[in-house]
């Protein structure tokens, strides 16, 4: 099989793994230390190419092999599914990746692999690629490596030399995971490895500048949003997770879930989960705040965004007076239509002694007025509510 054929198979097999190019702080030491080799982990700022689904193609995202002995019911590469099988040799992959990197087609490498027979052998092969790049070719650019569930401690330690590692958790707990995979064990194969990664990154400063991430397959095992939130809380607090990715389940032909006619998860559910994740990471929300928004089925409201739902549930906290001295950054971030940037700008202007008199002034610094108006008080004026008249 030719290289192009293999690339088509292994590139397509990796497309469901989510990743983003992230500049890592290795970049600061780069200019002082590395005067040879090639590459740096500084993000270019703009992704290189975009597919019609709107996602960027900035990393060279491939599997080393799509031969897999796991029986994950949702997976394109599961054992027993009839499809073309292929494998790259580490040298071959490194050669082509460096050629693409030199020509600025890609910004880094995202490497994963199917588990052919033994997880340790599969992990060893992927590590060989990383070590060839780092040691032989002095490649200092961005590498995101998938940790194979079941890899040993020593292998994980070596993998930590890449910029980011991730291990897919797929489902929020063991009972849900066992519904979609009989071979993966949540505690031993995934959580223990994540803990090792967290400890290694804590101990050694140079390890994993972009941290570790994980990915959920949303809706494949019939889990609720509450279960996902509980797992997320655990991962952020105990595993020092950098961020989580969510992939709405979409049945792939010739997989058990497709035969069982498990329905496709609406993409909007994925969006709501991302909103909740961002509210926790960037908007100073607590998980208790997010859980309070869930409906009786423990799911997010698909028709309203999560922050707006929170605001409606806590109407007594609003309106917030923008010019009030007690209005902190944290309070502003709870207002729909105000993001971290515009909230910081409001605080900065207030510190400089500026008083906002009109909504237009807020619009100018980036507040989405349409969403924010019902929850703001400005210069003694606020939007009237029907409650005031009833």
């Amino acid at each position: 099989m030719g290289f192009l054929e293999k690339l088509k198979i292994l590139g397509a097999a990796a497309k469901y793994d989510l990743c983003a190019s992230t500049a890592s702080n290795r970049a600061t030491s780069y200019s002082k230390l590395n005067r040879f080799g090639m590459g740096n982990p500084v993000a270019s700022g703009v992704c290189h190419s975009f597919t019609p689904d709107g996602r960027c193609v900035s990393l060279f995202r491939v599997l080393l092999t799509n031969q897999c002995s796991n029986d994950c019911a949702y997976c394109i590469n599961r054992v027993g599914r009839e499809c073309l099988k292929a494998s790259f040799e580490p040298e071959e992959l490194v050669r082509v990746f460096l050629g693409l990197y030199e020509r600025n087609y890609v910004e880094g490498l995202f490497l994963s692999s199917g588990i052919h027979k033994d997880p340790e052998i599969a992990m060893e092969k992927t590590l060989e690629v990383v070590e060839l790049l780092r040691a032989k070719h002095h490649f200092n650019g961005y590498i995101h490596l998938k940790i194979i569930p079941g890899a040993c401690y020593d292998q994980i330690k070596r993998a930590c030399k890449s910029d980011r590692v991730s291990i897919n958790i797929e489902a929020p707990n063991q009972s849900r995971l066992s519904e979609i995979s009989s071979t993966k064990k949540m505690m031993t194969d995934i959580l223990t490895r994540m803990k090792w990664i967290q400890r290694l990154a804590e101990r050694e400063e140079t390890y994993l500048p972009s941290g570790q991430t994980t990915q959920f397959v949303v809706g494949a095992a019939g889990e609720s949003d509450l279960e996902i939130l509980e797992r997320l809380e655990n991962l952020y607090c105990r595993m020092d997770l950098k961020r989580a990715y969510f992939s709405a389940f979409d049945p792939i032909p010739e997989t058990p879930l497709e035969k069982m006619k498990v329905p496709k998860t609406p993409l909007i559910r994925e969006v709501r989960l991302y909103q909740a994740d961002f509210l926790y990471r960037c908007y100073d929300f607590h998980f208790s705040d997010l859980k309070s928004v869930l409906n009786e089925n423990n799911m997010f409201n698909l028709s309203k965004d999560v922050k707006l739902c929170y605001a409606f549930q806590n109407l007594d906290h609003y309106p917030i007076d923008v010019n009030d001295e007690d209005t902190t950054l944290k309070k502003l971030l709870k207002v729909p239509g105000i993001g971290p940037t515009s909230a910081r700008r409001i605080i900065k202007a207030k510190k400089a002694g500026y008083r906002f008199k009109k909504l237009k002034e807020l619009a100018r610094i980036g507040v989405v007025i349409k969403r924010a108006t019902p929850f703001l008080e400005i210069n003694g004026r606020k939007q009237a509510r029907i409650d005031n008249y009833v």
């Binding site: 703009v46 689904d53 193609v57 050669r95 020509r103 610094i365």
Partner: protein, 331 residues
């Protein structure tokens, strides 16, 4: 003090003062201070003409020995005691404003009006406080931020979208730029590839030029030296036509490899035309491979990238000489 940091101060007969400044950061700051303290008018040196002052007010003194302009401006900005009425700027604020001015100095190569805007904003900083500028409350500060975003956007797009060709030890590319960002782009590449010499050809309207970067050091050439460089690159191509890390593969092969890779990355079930249209430059939307046989519609908003990426058909003169440097458009 370095001559370049001085401002030329002209006193006219009617006791009005004109300060002539250049494009350096120091000169701009000094000029802003002088204008603020003695009510002088400012003019950029490229626009200054001694005959512009009428006979009544003909120049009686042209000197650059006014102490006002020699003061280290950053010191003054930090110390409010030295100048009453001026706001004190913290280190962070100073750095932020300096960054803002630096990006604005790179705004549109031939636009002289940019200096007036910069001076206005510096004055606002001094009289009304840096917070007014940093939080973008005034129209001028917003305009400055808008311009700095435009310049930054062009720089980032170039870093992300420009393809490089490997020709021996050279990494070669070519692009037209609206703003002065070529040196930044070359610095970015030369840091990424310290063992290579990065060459960025910039066929500007006045004359073609090239920026070279090696191990973070940037140099600039134009005129006859351009022809010498092109000959050197062409010679390298002839002697060692397909030299790269992948010795047997050429630049075109990598184009094919990337095409193949790109084609399989799309998930049809997640098709999102609106999101894709937001990212892809209008000019290349026709070549953008939409699946299911549908072409993507043109976006309403103009994208700066349209004008800056060189199309093969639009540059026929350079095409024959440095055939290999002409970039195939990005998707």
């Amino acid at each position: 003090m370095d001559e370049s940091k001085r401002g030329l101060i002209i006193m006219c007969k009617d006791k009005s003062v004109i300060v002539v400044f250049d494009s350096t950061f120091e000169s701009l700051l000094s000029t802003a201070l002088v204008c603020e303290s003695i009510g002088a008018k400012a003019i950029h040196k490229d626009h200054f003409n001694p005959y512009m002052i009428d006979k009544e007010n003909k120049i009686i003194q042209t000197a650059n020995n006014n102490n006002e302009s020699y003061i280290q401006f950053e010191e003054i900005l930090k110390t409010s005691e030295k100048r009453k009425g001026c706001f004190r700027l913290s280190n962070y604020e100073l750095q932020e404003i300096k960054k803002l001015i630096d990006w604005n100095l790179r705004y549109k190569k031939n636009d002289i009006d940019k200096f007036n805007l910069i001076l206005k904003v510096i004055r606002q900083c001094l009289t009304e406080g840096p917070g007014i500028v940093l939080s973008q409350v005034t129209a001028e500060s917003r305009e400055m931020y808008k311009r700095s975003r435009q310049v930054g956007c062009e720089y980032h797009k170039a870093c992300g979208f420009l393809r490089l060709d490997v020709v021996g030890d050279f990494l070669v590319s070519a692009a037209k730029f609206e703003h002065d960002v070529e040196d930044l782009i070359v610095r970015f590449w030369s840091k990424r590839f310290p063992e290579k010499t990065v060459v960025l050809f910039s066929p500007s309207k006045r004359k073609p030029c090239a920026f070279l970067g090696n191990k973070g050091k940037i140099s600039f050439i134009d005129g006859e030296e351009i022809a010498v460089l092109k000959a050197k690159i062409n010679k390298e191509t002839k002697e060692n036509p397909i030299y790269s890390i992948v010795e047997k593969d050429s630049n075109e092969d990598f184009e094919k490899i990337f095409e193949a890779f790109y084609d399989v990355q799309y998930i049809p079930a997640r098709r999102n035309k609106r999101l894709a249209r937001r990212w892809v430059p209008k000019k290349y939307s026709e070549r953008f491979k939409m699946k299911e046989g549908t072409k993507i519609e043109y976006g309403i908003e103009k994208t700066k990238l349209d004008s800056f990426l060189i199309d093969q058909s639009s540059n026929s003169t350079d095409k024959c000489e440095v055939k290999n440097i002409l970039k195939k458009p990005k998707r």
